[in-house]
Symmetry: C2
Subunit: 316 residues, 2 copies
């Protein structure tokens, strides 16, 4: 296994021939009826039952997508909602994903400074060294919020370097109100997100964080929904992996998202969550596969891969 997250990602994207990443944001009430069938009406509010159903759904979904995509992004908030029972399930799911050979991004958006950041880094990037919890794996990479500046990114970068893991720092998010903060411009016209990108790039340029293929283990989260502002980032930061949310349910098109891929198809992970995992809700898939929600997921992944590949062809 490659020593750098950036290399493992490169190899996974090359071998799966896509930059598509599947985001797992599981909500009990939206799980396929087949998953909920043998459970009770109120299981959404029963921590043990809901967590069990969510884990069941996610592991089955991962088995479908593992042969055809390089990575999954697991959103910890949907597990934290079930407190410590949910957190235990989050880590169990990471082990399942690892067994399936997937690269795993923990979408945790942690951010703090000093000793506190070190504690978060231990929890979320270091494979457990705790007695009694020796087998617990941390994800291959996590998302980090860098509002505190360099001090808030460094401890995560250090842990990533020590563990061969990665970090994606929020640079330009995909939501409507992001502009008020992230597009805030100084007198020279530099936007705050560009300043953030510069800080992230500086930290990520250290030799110990650069893999064989020239990419850094420290990437950036840049939404696909703001193409007018973010187009320059790919050209400027050639060592950077971009994690691109917003494809699918959030409204960014394939052409907007693949801007962050290089000509060889590497350099970006394009995330689709709800449009894939809840594909069985869509008439286009239901009509074809009925209640077979796994077939719906599989077809939605194939369709998204084709959509992205066609956009790449058009771009080249």
């Amino acid at each position: 296994m490659a020593n750098h997250f950036a290399d493992r990602l490169y190899e996974a994207v090359q071998s799966k021939k896509t930059s598509l990443v599947i985001g797992l944001d599981p909500v009990y009430s939206r799980l396929p009826p087949a998953i909920r069938a043998h459970r009770q009406m109120n299981d959404e509010y029963d921590a043990a039952a809901a967590v069990d159903a969510i884990f069941d759904f996610c592991t089955q979904a991962m088995r479908i997508v593992a042969p055809i995509v390089p990575a999954v992004k697991i959103n910890i908030a949907f597990f934290e909602r079930y407190l410590w029972e949910g957190l235990e399930s989050y880590y169990a799911l990471i082990s399942e994903a690892d067994d399936l050979g997937l690269e795993i991004i923990g979408d945790v958006k942690r951010g703090d400074i000093g000793h506190t950041a070190e504690m978060y880094a231990v929890a979320h990037l270091q494979n457990s060294e705790l007695i009694g919890l020796e087998d617990v794996l941390a994800p291959d990479a996590i998302t980090v919020n860098g509002y505190a500046g360099t001090d808030g990114i460094e401890p995560f970068a250090s842990m990533a370097a020590a563990q061969g893991k990665g970090v994606f720092v929020l640079v330009r998010t995909s939501n409507a109100s992001a502009a008020a903060i992230q597009d805030f411009r100084d007198a020279d016209g530099q936007a705050l997100y560009e300043k953030m990108a510069q800080i992230v790039s500086e930290i990520g340029s250290r030799p110990e964080l650069i893999g064989e293929h020239g990419y850094s283990d420290i990437g950036m989260v840049v939404g696909g929904t703001a193409p007018e502002t973010t187009t320059a980032l790919r050209a400027k930061y050639h060592k950077t992996w971009f994690l691109v949310p917003g494809y699918g349910a959030q409204g960014a098109g394939a052409a907007d998202c693949i801007r962050f891929c290089k000509a060889d198809g590497t350099g970006a992970l394009i995330n689709a969550s709800r449009s894939i995992i809840y594909a069985y809700e869509k008439p286009q898939y239901r009509d074809q596969f009925g209640d077979d929600w796994k077939k719906c997921i599989e077809q939605a992944v194939i369709d998204a891969k084709i959509d992205l590949a066609q956009a790449m062809q058009t771009k080249l």
Copy 2:
């Protein structure tokens, strides 16, 4: 019990006659020898043993401080470090603090948008409605990272309004590298942290978030270590509770911190963590109280209260 976090805080600060808040950032290796005495050398890496010791220490420390300070700030990172076992302990500690009549700030620094933010808000601000976990309390308020803008703050503010709880949004943090991001200035000279303060104030000004005493349930985190930049905030945002880190171990003096208090002593919570909970490490307390770490904590709290009260006298 007051329906607004802002009112409960007001009453607690008035009745305890101090704005001092005790931060709990517990690290096993720094716990008093008496707490560790009947435990093993490697218990720092034994999740169950370490969590047990940390919980024991924190509950004893809270019993000492509860009669003399209005609130505690519990830093979740130091619990997450022990994965789900730590998280269970974090919530158990919140119940202990609640039994002691303390206002409780969960220092969780969560931040995300949309449905994800709603999930975090359920986990961290809503008293549990989960079957099997009915007795789990969420803290009275949490810290939130608003880098995503309004979309990243709204879901927490809505939950706070629904639950009579509060939120402190990071505005200007106390670390050295914060300036590169947070003091980023536009052409008119407005700093990013001022823009963030403006966004927070707008959300917090809604009638449903204003308590009887005129304060909002949505506060701001502003470090005591940047007095030259942040002095104008108190005058500008008269409805705001400021949570002020940096007093004590991080180097901000009492005079820097009490700038955020109004003349009646309300309007700010001044946090001291390590300088209080590890007071027994300091010669000034050890010489007086020997191994009685509880006496050391108590005296450190009394000294800090006097220090802050004297600074208030000088200011008035």
